[in-house]
Amino acid sequence: MQTTIQKEQKDRFLNYIENTNHPFKNLQIQALERFNKTSLPPIYHESWRKINLNLIPFNTLKLVDAELQTSITSQYRITDPSIIEKFLMLNIDPLKAESYHFEVDYFTLLNVVLLQNIHLIQVPSNTKEQIRIIHKVISGDGFFPFVVVIAKEGSELEIQEQIYGLEEQALWNSTIYILAEKNSRVRFVSIRNHSDYEFHFHKVRIIQHRDSYVHAAIFHTGGILGKGFLQARLLEENIEFRGIGFFFGEKGHFHNMEMDVQHLSNYETSSLLYKTIVKDRAHSVFIGKLETPYKIKGVNSHQLNHNLILSKKAKAESMPWLIVRSEDVSCEHGATAGDLDEEAIFYLQARGLTEKEAKKLLMIGFIYDLIEETHLSEEDKESYLEKLSNQL
């Protein structure tokens, strides 16, 4: 079992850091030191117990050859190292940065150790901006992008991230931090298409300040094994957060999505909606985590998970995880699992659609509300649904 990194691997990582041109080598070395003492998340860790991490071929990653091209459309790209350092530190040691209650783990450290693309976008106060982030693989089999987006006070921001996977064995480990300052509005959507051979670990970490609103959507298809995090930290009063997501898995795909909201102040609202369609031997796990500390009041939070399970060997698990320590909190959670409605299939067939066409239409209908909720353009929505429809 490979639960720690071997000596040979440590030397390889150090060699990699020495050969990179980032101005953050010191932080990378700090991360490596901590990484060397860190094991893969253990099986008894509630967040990780459903994933067999020993399947990931860490030792054979071709780090030197790896090239990930990230293109970003924004006039507000900046390279202030002090801001980037602060966020990198969140991946290494949050106590040394500012405590935003994010966990440091094997993958956050690895993301810094093997940093490839670092990007910082800071949208000025009271500005509207649309950003498109595209991660495209050029070569290699290990990809470690790190992106920070800051929406300054009163700004309105729409972010669209796209990840194009590789038809070969590869490991993705990305982090994006979104900081929504006071009275800002941010809409984020990430579309991730992974191949049958890719391992994927993506973290979206959102930090919200007073009177801000964030809508975050993650649409994920494929991948042999991986875990996605959507983590929101609602720091001050009158914050609203909405997190939605979708996973389509077939063949032997495995995906574990963890949506995790911490309400850290009064009068905050959050809601989560996650849907999956699994067929063949695909396996989905959803963890909906909600935390409220002591003496918080006026919090409203609910989460829903709906799963369509289309074959006997496919599996979808739903794990609500509510840690509520204060009294004036309203929380709800619910989950459903089932197959397509036979009467609806009959109805559509009675209108001339073949069984396959009918099922496709119903599956697209199953996630339509999620797509509609996003800020994707009508053209992008249609294109996404058409691509998905061809996969279903």
């Binding site: 409605d341 009467e343 609806a344 109805y347 067939q349 069984e355 119903l362 199953f366 996630i367 339509y368």
Partner: protein
């Protein structure tokens, strides 16, 4: 005589229980037949069976459509041959907008239709049924009232232009105006090349539609057939009295 539909000693089971116990029926091209009968007599079972719902098993007999047995055809194959079923309780399909649904329905019969032509066809059918276009953006039958669902069924019939339609209680849940509009549309679609079965409990629908025959269904069989006047007698006297008089 050429029949569009022939039922020959048809027996049908649902979950192991025989519901239809030997029906013989011929419907010529261009005719509209009404089927009336008490609740639970097998009327809806017949409609589902004709379109090949997988829960309804034909255990004996045959269904011939335009002279050929259709027992081995799937539901969509039957639909594309020209059979149309309007359900008593049209199914809701959350997540699928009515526009997208109708586009797929039209595509399955006529292939890809240019968007402008498609819109014109749909708008025209909506106008005929006096339905607001707002429904196109709503999910199929989701939150529609009973009357709106029934109008939507006839919209679909207008768009598909089937050779043969089974309209199962198309008049239930309708107010007076909606009943008139739907009935007028059905009557307008009557042609020498199109036949229909109207399943109904009430004579009022037949005030608007030229029905050629009325069949009384009881216990999974056609007990008696007659002309349009039979429906009026039924409403006045009830099933028991009519059948006892006949017998």
């Amino acid at each position: 005589m050429n029949y569009i539909l022939e039922l020959i000693d048809l027996h049908v089971e649902v979950e192991g229980k025989e519901i239809i116990k030997g029906i013989n029926l011929q419907i010529p091209y261009g005719e509209i037949h009404a089927i009336m009968g008490p609740n639970g007599s097998g009327k809806s079972t017949l409609s589902y069976t004709l379109l090949g719902h997988p829960k309804y098993k034909v255990t004996k007999g045959d269904i011939k459509f335009e002279g050929e047995s259709i027992l081995n055809l799937t539901t969509d194959q039957r639909a594309r041959k020209g059979m149309f079923l309007s359900l008593q309780y049209p199914t809701q399909i959350p997540g699928v907008t009515t526009m997208n649904f109708l586009r797929n329905v039209i595509k399955s019969f006529y292939g890809d239709v240019p968007i402008r032509e498609l819109r014109e066809k749909i708008n025209s059918a909506f106008d005929k049924l006096q339905m607001k276009k707002d429904f196109l953006a709503r999910y199929v039958n989701d939150g529609f009232s009973g009357g709106e669902k029934k109008r939507h069924e006839i919209v679909q019939m207008r768009l598909i232009q089937p050779k043969f339609a089974i309209l199962d209680e198309i008049d239930s849940g309708l107010d007076i105006d909606a009943l008139r509009i739907i009935a007028e549309n059905i009557q307008e679609m009557k042609s020498s090349q199109r036949s229909m079965i109207l399943i109904t409990h009430y004579q009022r629908l037949l005030n608007y539609i030229d029905v050629d025959k009325v069949h009384i269904f009881m216990n999974g069989k056609i007990e008696f057939s007659g002309g349009k006047e039979l429906a009026i007698q039924l409403e006045q006297k009830g099933y028991e009295q009519i059948l006892s008089t006949v017998k």
